[in-house]
């Protein structure tokens, strides 16, 4: 990575915080409208009942949980990049870590909405909280959904704290360059960070521990999500590989989302010199890796289903690839495990266009992976008489639209108001590079 002076770094990043133009606000406004659409759909559903969606018996779970898993998945790569790669001392993470973490925070927020949207009686949701009450009614800590409650809320809290801690020194930078009300705000936000070495020694240590804790957390969280299915008995759900397979899938989709976000961002904020091609290339390579894991999982599932000679298992998997949802299935296989292989070709993984296109493809593929898993299994489970079909309704699409808008709405607000690239970490990177060259 080419040499950048600390000042240049600060300038580039602070430039992103310049007052935004009309274009920006129009986009934000549009996104907000999208959020309103989603909210309206949800309101309607609460009014008339879950029947507003397309769920039925046997397919009692629909797009709400698909989107839930999808967004949680998106969240994970954020933690992967900021924590796991930090532990592995992969320098290329630094330029995108901040954006990735932010993605995590907002994706978790978005994901967190869906269990509520999914509930038949959302107004009773507090039954799931272990609040001491006079009737001594407690939630059931044997239920995978309770694991979810615990895991997701933990994940949200941790990723927010991690995010904030990471931004602390950068707040100080902005504070020192800003004036007026913004200076006041950032003075408060930066908690009076001065970069004394007394602070640095605790800070570095604390941050390392953060990373060390976030790593098992991210794995556990998506394992727990996978167990929402794997702990059940439904064929195609009840399979031991789910936890690692979901974790890999989550990171797969998340990395793709990182590319989808980074590529326009570096263009808009012309941060090409910070978010270099080398960075994107490394993300692409990691996508190949996760893609291979996911492909390996698909293959294993199929093989074991065949090996088991269990008619139920075999039927479900045959149905997946040839039945009503064959299209979704093949989209999933191609987009998730075949298309990323293109990244083996250097020309492709170094072409912005390809990177962007493939990242989109993977996002789509991963959405359909969740679709295939969640829908196709129960649509063909144990009793043939109960077999059924499923198609999302307008309400569901509306809510899905809302969720995407919400995510991008928050992300847009973030990029213009908070440092979307970690100045301190870039400086460290530069500094290391400097000392080692």
């Amino acid at each position: 990575m080419e040499k950048l002076s600390f000042a240049e770094i600060d300038n580039t990043v602070n430039a992103t915080l310049e007052p935004p133009g009309r274009m920006y606000w129009t986009v934000v406004a549009l996104l907000f409208c999208g959020v309103l659409v989603g909210a309206a759909c949800w309101g309607w559903q609460i009014l008339v009942g879950i029947g507003a969606g397309g769920q039925n018996s046997p397919v009692n779970w629909g797009t709400y949980l698909i989107n839930f898993v999808f967004w949680v998945g998106i969240a994970h790569s954020g933690t992967l990049i900021s924590a796991i790669l930090y532990l592995l001392r992969a320098g290329w993470r630094n330029p995108i870590a901040r954006a990735a973490e932010t993605m995590t925070v907002f994706a978790v927020c978005t994901a967190g909405l869906f269990p509520f949207i999914h509930l038949g009686r959302v107004w009773m949701v507090y039954y799931m909280l272990p609040v001491p009450n006079q009737r001594t009614l407690w939630p059931n800590f044997q239920s995978p959904l309770m694991f979810d409650v615990v895991a997701i809320s933990t994940y949200l809290i941790v990723s927010v704290l991690f995010w904030y801690t990471g931004m602390l020194p950068d707040f100080a930078v902005i504070r020192d360059r800003a004036a007026g009300v913004r200076k006041k705000i950032f003075t408060v936000l930066s908690l009076g960070w001065t970069g004394r070495y007394e602070q640095w020694r605790h800070y570095s240590r604390g941050y390392l521990l953060f990373a060390a804790l976030a790593t098992p957390l991210v794995i556990s969280v998506h394992s727990v999500v996978s167990w929402d299915f794997a702990l059940g008995v439904a064929p195609g759900w009840h399979t031991t590989i789910f936890a690692p397979y979901f974790v890999a899938g989550a990171i797969h989709s998340g990395l793709a989302m990182v590319l989808t976000l980074m590529i326009p961002m570096r263009r808009i904020f012309n941060a090409q010199r910070i978010i270099t091609m080398h960075v994107l290339e490394s993300v692409a390579k990691t996508i190949v890796f996760t893609g291979l894991i996911v492909g390996f999982a698909y293959a294993t599932e199929y093989f074991i289903a065949w090996y088991s000679r269990n008619s139920v298992e075999m039927e479900v998997f045959a149905f997946r690839s040839t039945g009503d949802f064959a299209l979704q299935y093949w989209i999933m296989v191609i987009c998730n495990s075949l298309v990323p292989l293109l990244f083996f070709i250097k020309r492709i993984r170094t072409s912005i266009l390809w990177l962007f296109a493939i990242s989109i493809a993977v996002n789509i593929g991963m959405w359909f992976e969740r679709f295939v898993i969640i829908i196709s299994s129960v649509a063909r489970d144990f009793l043939p008489h109960a077999w059924g079909d499923y198609a999302p309704t307008g309400i569901e699409y509306g809510i899905m639209l809302g969720s995407f808008c919400l995510f991008f709405f928050l992300f847009f607000l973030f990029v213009k108001h908070l440092p979307s690239i970690s100045m301190t970490e870039i400086k460290e990177l530069q500094h290391q590079a400097g000392t080692h060259d």
Partner: protein
């Protein structure tokens, strides 16, 4: 008489209450401050009555809570149904509470309806009738449905007083051909009853005795008496017909044949029997004639003409010849063409040659249905109406406009201005629409009446609740419109009392009360005189003609098929009957055109394609439903739907097969027929999704609905299964002994006193779906409607699954599926709030108030018996009056499912506690178990070692659906027993 029955009888109220109990009661809180002496709120009163949904006349017990009837159950003492009810009987209540039931009489004035008070209506009617009567003979005519003797007597009397002829009895399902055939062969123009229970080999040439034929509940019972597996034996049942309905589905073999070719097959059999057995016991002259008739029907000819499968035919012939007690049943209820008459005659002859004594036909115990007028008479009646219209026409609960062929133009005739048509009806059906006055009279549950399905059988109707809208009963109306002084009694009730007194000699009040409480007099009903059949006449020859035209027709033929749900169409507006799918096709709300895949291919249509069937008489349009249960070249529609009236439930729904029929009056005019001319098929272009509740009828080799052959059972039992895979997994009882340390992670858990369980005998289940209806009634299940069924959101807690038998495709098997109350229920642990959990008596509880609607339980239920409330379902008033106050009405967003009728268990606990004892076996009877006509369901506690369930689970046939999932279901199934395929 079991304990429950006794309780019921004890609970049956007296007349004073019956007439006095009031509806207003539950409108205001303080209403019960002054309540009737024998009415305790929260406690049910039971009133015996008679079901009038069809001529079979089963005995019912009406459960009255706080002044309204909320459930019907069979009267255990009643000889016809012995405590059981069919799907229609269970649904009868909804006819009473139907939202479209007219509240007041209405009269048509210049095309618009005007409401009247009952009094006004009677006065107006009286004027009309009396002035008409004054004008001359037969100025007042009456067409009525089949009524009891007393009621008919009353009708006749008042009609006579109005100097008209006796009312004509119109029943669409009059079984006329059977009557004519009996006349022709036995010289008895009537409907004897058949002792199926004594037969060991049964052949039906279309008689759908499990759907609509004569008396379905009774014959279901008698059928299972011969066809259920018992001490190593099981009767054989062959069904010969171009289609396979519910009855055919219960046959060991279905022989598909060309329409109207049944007679040919039957004659072929006669020929073989005579050839093999000779004609011992038959007078030579009769024998000669029989020989003459069946001479041409060699095996080859039979096969050629009827298109029956040769090997099947030979098997049937063989079985018949080897049988000790064979019994032959003729054509089905809906058989209306000449071919069916021939089939009936041939069947009679075959019975005769097989058993000249006719030991299994009871000519003394004759069905009341035989009193219905024949097609000819009906036709003549309408001719007269058309030719010389009377001034007043009274129609009692009949719907000729729907049931008669369009070409008879009944609607035109009834619509004519010359006569004043009065329709005593509780639904604005086609006929009522055309009447000048519609007079809603009180229904069987609201009025005093008597209906004995058999001679000497006294079976009461008494008011189980105050008439919903205060309507008088028809008897009172006729009594009022007849000239004064016609009757010595002041009202129909008095009339009933005096008639009953003179006919059944019930003089003192005690005996009377006794009879009313019991629902009638049943002592002599069962006794029947010597079984010797009457002398066989020789009037049958002329009916048979050259069968060669059978094979000539190449065009698409049509048949109206019997429906266990809709009977003759009078019940098509009842929500439960629409909602509960047909057990064989599994299609609800619709009446598609059944078609063999070959036929469909020939006409280039497939399931779901909308088509129009057109012939000379009319046209219907409906979606195609491909099934192999119908003869190629034949299109069939189940009767009952396709009402051309406004209405939420029946309005314009489905298609009316009767509208494709036309009246045939042969020159010899011995009898008239209804027959459908060949069809023209047109694609209507649009597709319609079928409201089918079945995903797939193929069990995919899974351990779901299993069968055993007789020889399996004869063979010594094999070694205990100890495997882990689907098919070698052992039976694991939901009891501590069901656990095995090598298989189970979880420790066994005990239950307190009871472990409720159910045993389902697939060999007894006929798939009639009465259990489903009972469940709807007992547990306040919602009716979701056609669209939501298509969306896959039916709410049935108990439903019949229709599968093909695994080792023999196309052999159906019915599997009642309900919550299995597993000991290791996968649904429970996944709920984050403990809404479903295992209670101390082994029930899988579902706490509605706790449920937050994650739907994980349903996802994780291998049996998919959990039902989610996708919306707030509604009960249009006054249907809500039927709701069972003991069962919560679920709101949107909560999961529900079969509770083993926990409310009944609780009640039993109450009684047991009062008498401080434990609950006895058979004391708790869930609604489904209670009504099952064949006793396929048994309920009880597994912890009681001598309970029936404990005994049955030791049966060799016992297994658990998908038991290898180690859920340890508490619903244990007994394999269906099938005959070896030879």
């Amino acid at each position: 008489m079991d304990r429950r029955t006794f309780l019921k009888l004890a609970g049956m109220g007296s007349l004073t209450f019956a007439s006095a109990c009031t509806l207003e009661s539950e409108k205001k809180l303080y209403s019960l401050v002054k309540n009737q002496d024998d009415m305790v709120s929260g406690k049910a009163n039971w009133y015996a009555g008679t079901c009038r949904r069809c001529p079979a006349g089963c005995g019912v017990l009406a459960k009255n809570r706080e002044g309204r009837v909320i459930k019907l159950e069979g009267n255990p003492l009643h000889p016809v149904n012995r405590g059981k009810l069919c799907i229609r009987g269970q649904s009868g209540l909804q006819a009473v509470y139907h939202p479209e039931r007219p509240k007041k009489p209405r009269i048509k004035q210049d095309g618009r309806w005007q409401a009247l008070s009952f009094e006004e209506a009677i006065v107006r009617l009286a004027e009309k009738t009396r002035s008409a009567a004054a004008r001359g003979k037969n100025r007042v005519r009456m067409l009525t449905c089949l009524e009891g003797d007393v009621c008919m007597g009353l009708f006749e009397k008042s009609m006579a007083a109005l100097n008209g002829t006796a009312p004509l009895v119109f029943e669409p399902f009059s079984h006329e051909h059977l009557r004519t055939a009996n006349q022709a062969v036995f010289g008895v123009s009537g409907l004897p009853s058949y002792r199926l229970e004594n037969a060991d080999c049964l052949v039906s040439f279309g008689a759908d005795f499990l759907e609509t034929w004569l008396s379905p509940v009774e014959y279901a019972r008698r059928f299972k008496a011969m066809h259920a597996y018992a001490d190593g034996k099981k009767g054989r049942f062959f069904y010969v017909s171009p289609w396979r309905g519910l009855t055919g589905a219960n046959a060991d073999a279905w022989l598909s044949c060309r329409p109207a070719a049944e007679a040919v097959i039957c004659l072929g059999l006669i020929r073989q029997v005579l050839a093999r057995k000779g004609s011992s016991g038959i007078s030579t002259q009769v024998a000669r004639q029989i020989r003459a008739v069946c001479q041409p029907y060699t095996r080859e000819k039979v096969i050629e003409f009827s298109g029956v499968d040769p090997s099947g035919y030979d098997q049937m012939a063989e079985a018949l010849l080897r049988a000790k007690d064979p019994l032959i049943l003729g054509a089905g209820t809906l058989g209306r063409g000449r071919g069916d008459l021939q089939a009936n005659i041939a069947a009679n002859l075959l019975n005769f040659v097989l058993d000249p004594q006719l030991g299994k036909i009871d000519f003394t115990r004759r069905h009341r249905a035989e009193k219905a007028a024949g097609y000819g008479e009906i036709a003549a009646f309408f001719d007269q109406l058309a030719g010389n219209p009377p001034d007043v026409l009274l129609l009692n609960n009949v719907n000729p406009v729907y049931a008669l062929p369009p070409e008879m133009d009944t609607s035109g005739i009834l619509g004519s201005k010359q006569m004043f048509t009065v329709c005593f009806s509780n639904f604005m059906d086609e006929t009522a629409q055309r009447a000048d006055m519609v007079f809603p009279v009180s229904m069987a549950l609201e009025s005093w009446d008597e209906y004995g399905a058999y001679p000497d059988l006294l079976s009461f109707c008494q008011p189980a609740m105050k008439p919903l809208y205060g309507a008088p009963q028809i008897g009172d109306v006729l009594l009022r419109i007849a000239p004064d002084g016609t009757f010595e009694n002041k009202d129909a009730k008095q009339e009933l009392i005096s008639r009953v007194q003179e006919r059944w000699g019930i003089s003192d009040t005690g005996a009377w009360l006794q009879a009313v409480r019991a629902g009638g007099r049943f002592e002599h009903a069962e006794a029947s005189a010597g079984a010797s059949g009457p002398a066989v006449t020789t009037a049958f020859q002329s009916w048979f003609e050259d069968p060669s035209e059978l094979i000539r027709s190449e065009s698409l033929l049509f048949a109206a098929l019997p429906s266990v749900r809709f009977f003759d169409g009078r019940d098509a507006h009842i929500p439960w009957l629409c909602e509960i799918p047909d057990p064989v096709s599994k299609v609800a709300w619709q009446s598609p055109v059944l078609m063999h895949p070959e036929t469909a291919r020939k006409y280039g249509v497939r399931t779901g394609d909308g088509i129009n069937l057109i012939n000379r008489s009319g046209a219907v349009s409906a979606p195609v439903y491909e099934t192999r249960y119908i003869q190629p070249g034949l299109a069939g529609i189940q009767a009952g739907q396709g009402h051309a009236v406004p209405g939420k439930y029946s309005g314009g729904r489905g298609a009316n097969p009767f509208s494709l029929f036309s009246l045939k009056r042969p020159a010899d005019a011995k009898t008239a027929f209804y027959a459908a001319d060949p069809l023209r098929l047109e694609k209507s272009g649009q597709r319609q999704k079928l409201a089918s509740t079945a995903g797939s009828m193929d069990p995919h080799g899974r351990k779901i609905a299993l069968t055993m052959t007789l020889s399996d059972l004869a063979a010594p039992p094999g070694p205990e299964k100890h495997g882990l895979a689907m098919h070698d997994f052992p039976l694991t009882l939901p009891m501590p002994e069901g656990y095995d340390a090598h298989r189970d992670f979880y420790p066994p858990h005990d239950h307190a006193d009871y472990r409720w369980a159910m045993v389902v005998d697939l060999d007894r289940c006929i798939g009639c779906s009465a259990c489903a209806a009972a469940c709807y009634a007992e547990n306040n299940l919602a009716v979701v409607g056609e669209q939501e069924i298509i969306n896959g959101r039916e709410m049935s807690w108990m439903h019949i699954e229709h599968y093909q038998q695994m080792d023999r495709p196309d052999q159906p098997i019915f599997l009642p599926m309900l919550c299995q109350h597993c000991d290791n229920a996968p649904c429970e642990s996944v709920c984050p709030v403990f809404a479903p959990h295992h209670n101390k008596e082994g029930l899988n509880n579902q706490i509605y108030n706790r449920c937050i609607g994650t739907r994980f339980c349903a996802q994780n239920c291998p049996y998919k018996v959990r039902r989610f409330n996708w919306h707030d379902w509604n009960w249009p008033e006054p249907l809500n009056l039927q709701l069972n106050p003991d069962v919560t009405v679920r709101s949107k967003g909560v999961m529900e499912k079969c509770s083993f009728c926990v409310q009944r268990i609780k009640t039993a606990h109450g009684h047991a506690k009062d008498e401080n004892r434990k609950i006895k076996d058979g004391e708790v009877i869930p609604a489904c178990v209670q009504t099952c006509p064949t006793g396929a369901l048994v309920f009880g506690s597994l912890m009681d070692a001598d309970s029936r369930v404990s005994k049955l689970v030791k049966d060799r046939r016992a297994y658990q659906v998908m038991g290898y999932l180690n859920t340890k279901p508490a619903v244990i199934y007994l394999k269906k027993v099938v005959h070896e395929i030879r």
